[in-house]
């Protein structure tokens, strides 16, 4: 498992380049990907149509009539070289608090449906994930999963769907994916696959282990709330999320507020995320202790 000394530049058909920074889940690699995306924007690199950063990589969509794969690689190498160490990176970063029901009835219904129709051997996801990670049970899973802020590393698979990484290393959990995947997942489900946490913006098929649900939209084509002023997707890469455990009754009350438009998003917008300070904090944690 490595951070590559030199990134790899891989062709994707005639119009795409995949840049791999490493092959591990490491926030460093995502900071590099987001840093490069920013540098491409600032430098207005000719021939680049758009970029999509991911955990340890970045996809570049380019126009071959304007730039060749080889010249694009040269330009990317130059920009990566000029970025400097990732420690220097500071990114404006909003923080969202979401009320969250853990071990909720709606994801249980989806799991029960899967067990009845597709794979009767499937263990109930919260118990399964707790057991695989050496936790004492679903209750500890809730403490550990909700005990950290999550970093939005990328968006995709479905419009507006965020892929997030735990910022507190004491709260890192991993989970395998469903095989075969579920055919449906309730909107607002919180789940995990590999070492990433995702929120399903709408009901879609999916393969993540699921164990919680939020009543707050992260996707709003009608843009009914202020937070959607610039887009119908709530998130940008570099946002952070904190899941706040609540009861089903509180969930339903917030659902009502969302429906009548009176809900106010809990978002903190004055902070800048400093990679250097983050690394300093991490270095002083006792990683042998879980919540």
């Amino acid at each position: 498992m490595t951070i590559y000394a030199q990134p790899r530049f891989l062709p994707g058909g005639d119009r795409y380049m995949l840049i791999e920074f490493g092959n591990e889940m490491n926030l460093e690699l995502n900071f590099m990907a987001q840093g490069l995306a920013g540098a491409i924007r600032e430098n207005k690199v000719g021939g680049v149509i758009e970029t999509a950063p991911c955990f340890a990589s970045m996809l570049v969509h380019y126009e071959p009539d304007d730039i060749s794969f080889a010249d694009l690689q040269t330009e990317m190498q130059r920009l990566i070289g000029s970025l400097g160490p990732s420690d220097d990176i500071e990114l404006p970063s909003r923080l969202f608090y979401f009320p969250t029901v853990y071990c909720d009835p709606w994801t249980k219904a989806a799991i029960d449906d899967y067990t009845a129709k597709i794979n009767p051997e499937k263990e109930y996801d919260p118990d399964f994930v707790a057991r695989l990670n050496g936790l004492s049970g679903a209750e500890q899973l809730v403490r550990v999963h909700s005990g950290t802020e999550y970093w939005v590393a990328s968006l995709g698979f479905w419009p507006g769907l965020p892929f997030m990484m735990a910022l507190d290393p004491r709260c890192v959990i991993t989970a395998p994916k469903y095989n075969p995947p579920r055919t449906w997942t309730p909107q607002g489900t919180v789940g995990m696959g590999g070492a990433s946490t995702a929120i399903y913006p709408v009901a879609t098929p999916g393969g993540y282990q699921i164990f919680a649900r939020i009543p707050v939209p992260i996707w709003d084509p009608k843009q009914r709330f202020d937070v959607f002023a610039d887009s119908i997707c709530l998130f940008r890469p570099g946002d952070r999320v904190k899941f706040v455990p609540v009861s089903v009754a509180e969930f339903e009350e917030i659902e009502r507020q969302v429906a009548d438009g009176s809900y106010t998003y809990n978002v903190v917008e004055y902070q800048k995320f400093s990679v250097a300070q983050y690394k300093h904090w991490v270095s002083r944690l006792d990683r042998t202790k879980r919540f």
Partner: protein, 322 residues
Amino acid sequence: MIEVIKPGLETSVQDWPGRIGFWNQGFPPSGPMDSWSFRLANVLVGNAPGAAGLECQYLGPTLRFDADAVIAVTGADMAPKLDGVAVPLWESVAVRAGQTLALGPAKLGTRAYIAFSGGIASEPWLGSRSTFHQAGVGGIGGSALKAGHQIPLGAGTGVAGRRVKPEARPPIHGDKRWDVEVCAGPNDDWIDAAGQERFLSADWKLSGKSNRTGFRLEGPEWTFAEKAYNKGPEHGSLPSNIIDHGYPLGAINLAGQTPIILVSDGPSMGGFINPYTVPQAAFWKLGQSRPGDIYHFRLVSVERAQAMAREMKALCTEASII
């Protein structure tokens, strides 16, 4: 304005190159699967090649025109009729107010395209009129066409009686076998030498469980190189699992042992490898093939694939019109 009398199986407004610039929020480009036929239809009616038109799939729509228009139908042969009289494909045709255009089931090919002089003037959404109906994005009210929909048209200067030279049209056929170009990568090094050989020599059958989100293929097993097994647990447990990464449009995504070609409405990222990618210039073959058809993949260089796209772009111009 055009009224939708019958919507057909799944007919939608699309433009070319589709919804671009939102890949990092998870929006697929959408757009027509056979952009060769689509662009030529627009050129026939005097539009820019990428103007918004209709993509018809398997079974076409019935449309009533409440104003004069100039249209062209290209791609699959759905036996288009204007007030019951056959309309030629690959030719611009005058339509009078009050006439009804009816397309039936595709007899040859799968997807037909209807261009309207002036283009479709529906509300653009994030810069494009293309429809991604699964997410309620674009098109008419975010969906494929429904009976009763009203489709607004722009003002056009199209002229009837223009034809596409036969040699400039995509060679849509009913042989049920297609040679489909692919480029190696991004993740071809995850497949062992025998697996690469097998992929390029095998017959791959297009499964019925295919649509604009993905074209599922049936064929032999894949075998993997060492790096598919010797990787950190966060990649996932299957050999074809990888840390989630961006998916190129046209990627042949290996979900377990099932290859799925990610097409116009497909996912933008995920946790499976993409050993090969279908280039843009070969998409028309995907768009005009049917479940049960056999694909045989032919390796081409990135440069050759780029040249093919340039050649196709040059064909989708006035130079192909007589």
